[in-house]
Symmetry: C2
Subunit: 445 residues, 2 copies
C-alpha cells in the first residue's frame, strides 16, 4: 500500500433537496423537499468515498470548514476527525445561537453545537471508510471488525400522511402544485384503516415483519386504535409506537396500559430523561429512545435512572460508524437493548446503516428506515428489501456508487430554491395547509 | 484484494517459558520463568500475524480449541471471535473449576471462565489484525481508526526485588542455580534507597517520567517511605503505588493521607469494589484499578459507586484491541480516566499495547509495562524507550517480526520443564526461599 494514495486530496460537498412525502409528526409535516448533504472524499489515489448527512445551513457551514481542513490527512485517520472538526472551525456565535433551537425536524431532543458537529463528522467518517474500503477492496464492515450477520432486518415505518402536499395535483402531477412536488401513489392514511392498508402494502412489497407507527399526530386514543388494528391484522408481529415525546407521564402510562400486550416497545412517549424514568418505573412496557439519549453525555443519567430499555443508535447522531459501535458496547455493558433510528435519508446512509448494523451482535431489534418513502436517490442502484431485510454488501467500501446525473439534478433543485426549503421545518410546511399552526408545546396530550 | 488471501489457513501455537527476574508482590515472587503463548495466524496469502497472551495450561487448552475452529475464517472477522471461542469449546468442568482459582499471578481479581476466554481471544484478535495489516500494508492503528499521537508514554515499573532467584549464583551465571536462571545486574531493591536507585537507573536508561511502585510487599510504612524517597528524588514527577488489594480500608486511607500530596494515583489499595468505593468516598487521592474492574460486567457497579477514577485497560484482559477501545469509550462517557496495565510480556504484546494506545485520545496517564524487566524476547528487534516513550510504528501490522531461533529456544525450555513452571505461581516461587509461605489473605495490613 502506497500510503500517499490514502491521503485526502479533495473534499466535495453537494447540498441537495430531495423529494419527501407529506408524512405527519408532532411538529407538523415533512416538507415537499428536504435538504441533505452528499460528502465526497477523494484520495490522491483517485478513489471517491461517499457520505451523507443533514443538509441544513448550519450543518453545511460546519462541513465546509471540515472539508477545507481535511486534505492531506489519511482516510485511515477517522479517530482524529473529532479534534479536527472542533479546531477547524470552532462553532461560532451564530451556530451556537442556531444550535439553541430545535434540530432539523425538531425530533432530536435539545440541539447543541456538539450534536451538529457529530452529525457532520459522521458523513466525513463514512466517506473516509468508504474510500479506504474501495482502495483496499474491502467492505466497510470488514474495517469495523467484520460482519456478524449476512442480512440486516428493518422495520416498516408507518406514518399518518396526506395523499399529497398542499397544492399538488391529485394525479401526482405537478400541475397546480406551487412546490412542483410529484405526489406518490400511497394515498392518505389518517385512521386505523389507512394505517393498516399502509402496513399491508409494506408487508407485500418488502416483507417487513416489524411495524413502527409515527405517533404524536392525533389524540392518543386514535393512535391506540391504529396499533390495535395492526395487532389484529398482524398478530404476534413486533409493533412500536413513537409520539416523539408528545405525551405527559400520565398519558404515556395510560397508553402503555392499553397496549402492553402488543407493543415491542414504546418510543419516546414523553420528553426528557426525568419523565421517561418516571414512566419506566411504572410500566412493564419497554421504553426506547432516540430523543433523551442521543449523545454519550446523556447516557449516564438515563442509564442510572433506568429511563430506557432500548437505545436507537444513529450514526448521524453519534458521530459515525465507530462511535455507533461504541454506543453498542455501552448498551451491552449496561444491559440496555439496541435498535436503530432513521431520519429521511438516501442510499448512501442506508448502506452505512446496514454495514455498521451487520457488525453489532447487540442489535436485537429491527432497524428503522424512512428509505421506502424516498422516491429519489443519488446512488445508481436502489437496495431492495426482501423479507424485511437487506443483504449486507461485501463489495468494496459501502457498496454504492454515485449517480452523478441524479446528484446534479437534486443539487440544481437546491440551487434554484429561494432558501425556504433549504432548512427543514416541519412546522412551516404545516402552515401551508394550516396558517395558524404553531409547533405544539409538549406534552401536547 | 483477493478475499481468499485473507482466510486463515492455519494457526500455530507455541507455548514458551521466558526468563523473569525475582520481582516481589503480595502473592510472593515472580518465578524464574513464566509461561507465555505465542499465537501465529497464517493466511492463505502466506502472511503471518502475531499475538501473545498468558501461557498457563488453562489458556493453552482454550487456545487449542479456537485454533482448530479458526481456519477458513477471514482475518477481518475479529468481531466473531468471541462467539467462535464460546462455541468452539464451551469451557468444560475442569476449566470452570480452575477458573474458580485466582488467576495467573493472582493479581487479576476473581478469575472466571469468561476472563480466560477473553485473554485467549485477545491474542487471536491481535494476530488477525497483524495479519490483516501486513496484507494491506497498513499499521494496526490504521485498522483501529488511526493514531492520534506519534509516541506513547510509558511508566517505569519499580519492584521490590531480590538480586537473584534462590539458588542462582551471585555472578548471574547459572552455576549452582537449580533453575538455570541467569540473574540480571539490577541487584536487590528492598528499601527506599534500593527503590530510588532502581528508579534512577530507569530514568537514565529510558527517560521514564512516571514511576509506579509495586507495593503490598512490606508493611505500608516502609512503602510510604519509598514513595516519599522517590518524591524527594524526582519532585513533581507522577508517582503511583499499587499494593494489589493488600490493605484494609483504614490502612488504605492512612496511606492516602500520608501520600496525598505526591501520588498521581493509588492503585487497588484494597480488594473489591465495595472497599474501593468506601476509600474513594473518603479521600481525594484518585483510585485506579486493574483488579475490581477487569471486565465489562464489572463496570456498572464500580462506576455507579464511584469506586475508581482511573481504569487500567489491558487488551489481554478485555478481549483485544477493539474491546480496549470500547472500554476507553465507556471511560470517556462516564468521566473516568484511562491508564494501561501490564503483566509480564514480550515484544508482541508491547507492540499491540502501543498500537492501541496510539488510537485512544482518552489515555491520559503513562502506560505500565514490565517490558524493561524482560531480557529475552521473540521479536527480532527490541523496541527502545526514549524519553519514557515508544514511537508508534507505521510499519504494516504490529511492526514486529518473529525471531524463530529465539522462539524455538524458549519453546524448548517449555518442553523440557517438568511442568512445575508451566503454571505461573508466585506463591510457589516464594516457597523456594520460604517453605512456610502461603498466599496471604487480604487485607494483609
Amino acid at each position: 500500500m502506497d500510503a500517499l494514495k490514502l491521503l485526502v486530496d479533495e473534499v466535495r460537498l453537494t447540498p441537495i433537496l430531495i423529494s419527501d412525502p407529506p408524512l405527519l409528526n408532532v411538529q407538523g409535516v415533512h416538507q415537499p423537499f428536504t435538504p441533505r448533504l452528499v460528502v465526497e472524499v477523494i484520495t490522491r489515489g483517485g478513489v471517491i468515498g461517499l457520505g451523507e448527512t443533514y443538509g441544513d445551513g448550519v450543518y453545511l457551514d460546519l462541513a465546509r470548514s471540515l472539508a477545507e481542513a481535511l486534505p492531506g490527512h489519511p482516510v485511515t485517520d477517522v479517530n482524529s476527525l473529532f479534534g479536527l472538526a472542533a479546531t477547524a472551525d470552532p462553532v461560532g456565535p451564530e451556530a451556537e445561537r442556531d444550535a439553541a433551537d430545535v434540530d432539523a425536524g425538531g425530533l432530536r431532543g435539545v440541539r447543541t453545537a456538539d450534536k451538529l458537529r457529530l452529525s457532520v463528522v459522521s458523513a466525513f467518517e463514512t466517506a473516509c471508510l468508504d474510500a479506504l474500503g474501495k482502495t483496499l477492496g474491502l467492505p466497510v464492515h470488514a474495517l469495523l471488525g467484520g460482519k456478524v450477520r449476512d442480512t440486516v432486518e428493518y422495520s416498516a415505518y408507518l406514518f399518518y400522511r396526506w395523499a399529497a402536499h398542499p397544492g399538488a395535483g391529485p394525479s401526482g402531477g405537478p400541475s397546480g402544485a406551487p412546490t412542483g412536488h410529484p405526489a406518490d401513489d400511497w394515498g392518505a392514511a389518517l385512521d386505523p384503516a389507512g394505517i393498516v392498508a399502509q402496513a399491508r402494502r409494506f408487508d407485500r412489497l418488502y416483507g417487513f415483519r416489524s411495524f413502527k407507527l409515527k405517533g404524536g399526530v392525533f389524540e392518543p386514543e386514535r393512535e391506540i386504535a391504529a396499533i390495535r388494528a395492526l395487532a389484529e391484522e398482524f398478530p404476534g408481529r413486533p409493533l412500536r409506537l413513537d409520539p416523539n415525546g408528545a405525551w405527559s407521564v400520565e398519558t404515556s402510562l395510560a397508553v402503555a396500559r392499553e397496549l402492553k400486550d402488543v407493543l415491542e416497545y414504546l418510543e419516546d412517549p414523553a420528553s426528557g430523561t426525568g419523565a421517561m424514568a418516571e414512566i419506566a418505573a411504572r410500566t412493564d412496557v419497554p421504553l426506547a429512545t432516540n430523543m433523551c439519549v442521543t449523545t454519550f453525555e446523556e447516557v449516564p443519567e438515563a442509564f442510572a435512572k433506568g429511563a430506557v430499555r432500548i437505545v436507537l443508535c444513529d450514526h448521524h447522531y453519534w458521530g459515525g460508524l465507530h462511535r455507533t459501535r461504541e454506543l453498542a458496547a455501552l448498551c451491552r455493558t449496561y444491559g440496555v437493548g439496541l435498535s436503530m433510528h432513521s431520519n429521511t435519508h438516501l442510499g448512501i446512509s442506508l448502506a452505512a446503516m446496514t454495514q455498521v448494523a451487520a457488525t453489532l451482535p447487540e442489535l436485537d431489534h429491527a432497524c428503522d428506515t424512512h428509505y421506502p418513502w424516498q422516491t429519489e436517490d443519488v446512488v445508481t442502484t436502489r437496495p431492495v428489501f426482501r423479507a424485511g431485510r437487506l443483504a449486507v454488501s461485501d463489495a468494496p467500501g459501502l457498496g454504492v456508487e454515485l449517480d452523478r446525473t441524479a446528484l446534479a439534478a437534486l443539487h440544481r433543485r437546491w440551487l434554484d430554491d429561494d432558501g425556504t426549503l433549504r432548512e427543514r421545518d416541519d412546522a412551516a410546511a404545516m402552515r401551508v395547509a394550516d396558517p395558524g399552526w404553531r409547533t405544539p408545546r409538549v406534552p401536547r396530550w
